[in-house]
């Protein structure tokens, strides 16, 4: 595995080397190429910048944007207007371009992000069209004629107006954007975007503030679009609305998708093809765009993932982080027996367990779906350090209770108090931050992320490093990230899948996927862990291991609330059991008590009048065995 890692890092080094050589060649282009080639080169650079910006929205976050040209327009018009009306220098307009474009990212993002993704297409398209029409019809923007006489930027008294100088300015912008995009993709925000792309509900349930994160995708994309707009205004000295049409947005989208969503080299390649190929096809005259369209369709049919699809992102902890994890483990092993558990758990939780405080108090909880009363006013409490099981026949309302407790659905009545405070009906990720984590009845992992990354997503809201520090990569940020990674590895070790950290979640066998879900939930360091049928589909050996694991989790100071149909497991592991039927609690007590409760037996098996006596006893045997 170590050898594999070094081979991988060797490959990374080679590709970095190639990238730097190519970049140097691009910078040196004006020295040996004709004016025409330099001009096309600058167009490619502009499209590459726009593509990298849109790639954040479409590639990283998986959101659709058919109006990206609006941000391009906002940047261009901001620079043009500030220069011509207020006589700002080009450089002084840049912050305004970026801020205005970013703010419009919020404007477009905020009302629309609750929409389904396909509706987002038309809304963003509408936003783009509205921006263009406003620019076309207002007097201040020069109407259809646009704005003339934008001064070229100057640097240290040197005017950037020759094609070569403007090209190098574009190149500088491109490099800045490139670094920004690369760092962003590797940041916790980039990870959160990927998780949303994979499974938005699951991301929310492990603590990702999905709405905010999606909005940030629009904002980050918009910033880059605004910057590209300023460059565009400086290059031509004149702008008009025809540069910011729907077709422009579509062109940028084609660059991203044809190149490979989420793949930075892919996007750059896409820009080279989309901006360069029509130039090469000039000999086709009228058939030029037709030829391009045919090529585009053929390409998508042959390579639906794009020309240069994104590679798997960071798959596993770096060797040095892994070493740190093992060192910590070794140190603990020398200490007392329970030490490893304590070291990764929240120390406050341990105290709370000792105090046996009431963790959660549910009173008269009710949830209706239309006329159906899924939960009919139930009350119970969860005490620190216990393993509480919630059982009942299918349709009893158990998962609905879970969904209410985690904030996925809003109760229609009653109250939930969490450590004494009312649990407001906020977004589910807030409840995760408060210390309530869950797993799902059907496994919901981020399939195309490694097991390790799945766990990191669960931990990310605990990071303290400021975002900018993370992008820049300060020493403190790197050290926290390393600790974070080491801890992530240990959660995987805890559930016994540490060796598979670098595998895609979807490639893990079923039992390991279940374990990974538990590790991901634990990584948020919850006080209460809700397990929704964790033993479903497991064989007896695996169930046995699961029981031990649930106990181990409790020993970490994590209280466990469990929905489960497997009675052997429930009876074996629980301290207390709540039985639900038809949305009501019909029994509550210790396992031995529940086993002999006639009401419970009725609920599961029907009354003696309905069933034949012998059958009922047979069923009883199999139920409790």
């Amino acid at each position: 595995m170590r050898a594999q890692a070094s081979r991988a890092s060797g490959r990374t080094q080679t590709s970095w080397l190639v990238a730097i050589v190519l970049l140097a060649a691009a910078i040196a282009l004006p020295a040996f190429a004709s004016g025409y080639v330099v001009d096309v080169g600058l167009t490619i650079i502009t499209y590459a910048i726009l593509g990298l910006g849109l790639n954040i929205v479409v590639g990283y976050a998986g959101l659709l944007d058919l109006g990206y040209a609006a941000f391009f327009a906002i940047g261009a018009y901001t620079t043009a207007l500030l220069e011509t009306l207020l006589h700002f220098s080009f450089w002084a307009t840049l912050p305004f371009s970026i801020v205005f474009a970013g703010a419009s990212g919020v404007v477009i993002g905020y009302p629309t992000l609750r929409l389904r993704s396909d509706y987002l297409a038309i809304v963003t398209l509408g936003f783009g069209e509205i921006t263009r029409i406003v620019a076309t019809n207002l007097d201040i923007t020069g109407g259809p004629n646009g704005i003339y006489g934008i001064e070229p930027p100057s640097l240290f008294g040197f005017e950037i107006s020759s094609p070569h100088a403007v090209y190098e300015l574009g190149m500088a912008f491109f490099i800045v954007v490139l670094l920004f995009a690369v760092r962003l993709g590797r940041s916790r925000l980039g990870r959160a975007w990927t998780s949303i792309r994979e499974d938005e509900a699951a991301a929310e349930a492990v603590g990702v503030a999905t709405l905010r994160v999606k909005m940030l995708a629009y904002v980050m994309g918009a910033l880059i679009g605004g910057l590209a707009g300023s460059l565009f205004a400086a290059r031509f000295g004149t702008i008009d609305p025809t540069a910011f049409t729907y077709l422009q947005s579509v062109t940028i989208l084609i660059i991203v998708v044809m190149g490979g969503r989420g793949s930075i080299p892919g996007v750059i390649l896409g820009a080279v093809i989309v901006a360069g190929l029509p130039e090469l096809l000039r000999f086709l005259n009228l058939w030029r765009i037709f030829g391009f369209a045919v090529a585009l369709v053929a390409l998508m049919l042959l390579r639906p993932q794009g020309l240069w699809p994104a590679r798997i992102r960071r798959a596993a902890p770096r060797p040095e982080e892994e070493k740190r994890a093992h060192e910590a483990e070794a140190a603990e092993a020398q200490g007392k027996e329970s030490a490893p558990a304590v070291a990764i758990a929240d120390s406050g939780a341990i105290d709370a367990v000792a105090a046996r405080e009431t963790l959660m108090q549910v009173s008269n909880l009710e949830r209706r779906f239309g006329g159906v009363r899924a939960i009919g006013g139930i009350s119970f409490e969860v005490r620190s350090g216990e393993i509480l099981a919630l059982i009942g026949p299918n349709g009893a309302g158990k998962t609905t209770v879970f969904n209410c407790l985690t904030g996925v659905i809003r109760p229609t009545g009653g109250q939930i108090r969490w450590r004494g405070e009312p649990l407001g009906a906020g977004a589910p990720h807030r409840n995760v931050h408060r210390g309530i984590a869950r797993t799902f009845q059907g496994i919901r992992l981020f399939n195309h992320m490694s097991a390790f990354e799945n766990v990191l997503i669960g931990m990310d809201h605990r990071l303290h490093t400021p975002f900018v520090a993370e992008l820049v990569g300060t020493r403190a940020a790197r050290s926290e990230a390393a600790e974070h990674a080491a801890l992530g590895q240990r959660w995987l070790d805890l559930v016994g899948i540490g060796a598979r950290a670098s595998e895609y979640a979807s490639d893990l066998p079923y039992g390991d996927q279940r374990r990974l879900e538990i590790a991901r939930a634990l990584a948020s360091q919850p006080r209460l862990l809700l397990l929704d049928e964790p033993a479903a589909g497991m064989n007896p050996t695996e169930k046995h291991a699961l029981m031990a694991q649930i106990r181990r989790i409790r020993d970490l100071g994590v209280t466990v609330l469990l929905i489960e149909h497997d009675m052997a497991l429930v009876m074996g592991v629980s301290d207390r059991i709540i039985v639900m039927d038809h949305g009501e609690i019909i029994a509550e007590g210790a396992p031995a008590q529940i086993q002999n409760d006639p009401v419970v037996i009725d609920a599961y098996l029907g009354t003696a009048e309905e069933d034949d006596g012998p059958d009922a006893t047979d069923g009883e045997k199999s139920l409790w065995s």
């Binding site: 479409v58 659709l64 009302p111 629309t112 609750r114 929409l115 389904r116 993704s117 396909d118 509706y119 297409a121 038309i122 809304v123 398209l125 509408g126 936003f127 069209e129 509205i130 029409i133 406003v134 076309t136 019809n137 499974d199 729907y246 579509v250 989208l253 084609i254 998708v257 044809m258 969503r261 009228l286 058939w287 765009i289 037709f290 391009f292 369209a293 045919v294 585009l296 369709v297 998508m300 049919l301 639906p304 993932q305 794009g306």
Partner: protein
């Protein structure tokens, strides 16, 4: 008051075109969750096929009524066949690919159709024969032409037919099943591929009717005419709740009315600002569109 009613009449007329084209968007979206960006261009192709057919038939000195019928039929058949061909070659192979790939393919097809017609017919306008006159009748001081009545009536009839087809025939039921769950439909013995092609045929044929009617009504057509109309028709489909057939009809007429009022009372330059503004406002309040149901998004 009479100007208001005049705008209503105009709005319903334009709305008929939007509604007919919106049906195609909504049907295709309903069954394969694809925003068929080439659909507006199929409308344009329909107009051109109709134009060519009418020209040829006029040269053959066919009686006018017969020529019209044949032109409509030819346009519907040819455009429908084109829609099926596009579905088979460009969309069906990508049904299991990421959804953005198929969207980009649709954009590519759109570009291809526009530029194909540009090459074949040139960039200038082609003119339909002036068959529809301004004759009509006056109600409440509003002049309504027979042509307007005919267009609205024809589109209503087609929509009603489609609605009945989808809700009261065996094939229509299969289509609705396909819209809900493609795999389950396949397991129930539905020939999913053929049904998808049929949907494309119907959608494209309806767009062709709208295209020929547009040519007859406004008389001028060019290769780019499908773009703006397609955009507004798509907006109409989303406004009504995409995937919902009556929704697309209502959305089409609403957009038509909005356009007529916007142009009449403010300025036609701002039409799309109104259209998209209303759309965004509606979606913010009701994220599924006016008549949309909650559709489970395919993961």
């Amino acid at each position: 008051m009479s100007t208001f009613l005049q705008f209503v009449v105009e709005g319903l007329t334009i709305g008929s075109f939007y509604a007919l084209v919106a049906l195609g968007y909504t049907m295709v979206y309903g069954i394969i969750r694809l925003i068929n960006f080439a659909h507006g261009d199929l409308f344009m192709v329909g107009a051109f096929v109709g134009w060519t057919a009418l020209g040829t038939l006029a040269a053959a000195r066919l009686p006018l009524a017969l020529a019209l019928v044949v032109a409509f039929a030819a346009s519907m058949l040819a455009t429908g066949a084109l829609g099926v061909a596009i579905a088979r070659v460009a969309y069906q192979p990508l049904l299991r690919a990421p959804r953005l790939s198929i969207l980009i393919t649709a954009l590519g097809i759109s570009l291809l159709l526009e530029n194909g017609v540009l090459i074949a017919y040139g960039a200038g306008f082609r003119t339909y024969p002036h068959l529809l006159t301004q004759t009509g009748f006056d109600v409440l001081q509003v002049h309504i032409t027979f042509a307007q009545v005919g267009i609205v009536a024809a589109s209503f009839a087609l929509m009603l037919g489609l609605y009945l087809f989808v809700h009261h025939t065996f094939i229509g039921t299969a289509m609705r099943a396909l819209a809900i769950d493609q795999d389950a439909a396949r397991l129930m013995g539905i020939d999913v591929e053929r049904l998808i092609q049929l949907t494309f045929f119907i959608g494209s044929a309806l767009a062709a009717v709208a295209g020929v009617m547009e040519g007859l009504f406004y008389t001028q057509i060019n290769f780019f005419m499908g773009f703006v109309l397609g955009l507004r028709a798509f907006t109409a489909a989303v406004l009504g709740g995409i995937g919902n057939i009556p929704g697309a009809m209502v959305g089409g007429f609403l957009i038509g009315l909005l356009e007529a009022f916007g142009a009449g009372y403010v300025s036609s330059q701002w039409t799309d600002v109104f259209v998209f503004g209303v759309l965004i406002a509606v979606l913010v309040v009701k994220p599924t569109g006016l008549f949309g149901e909650r559709v489970v998004e395919r993961m």
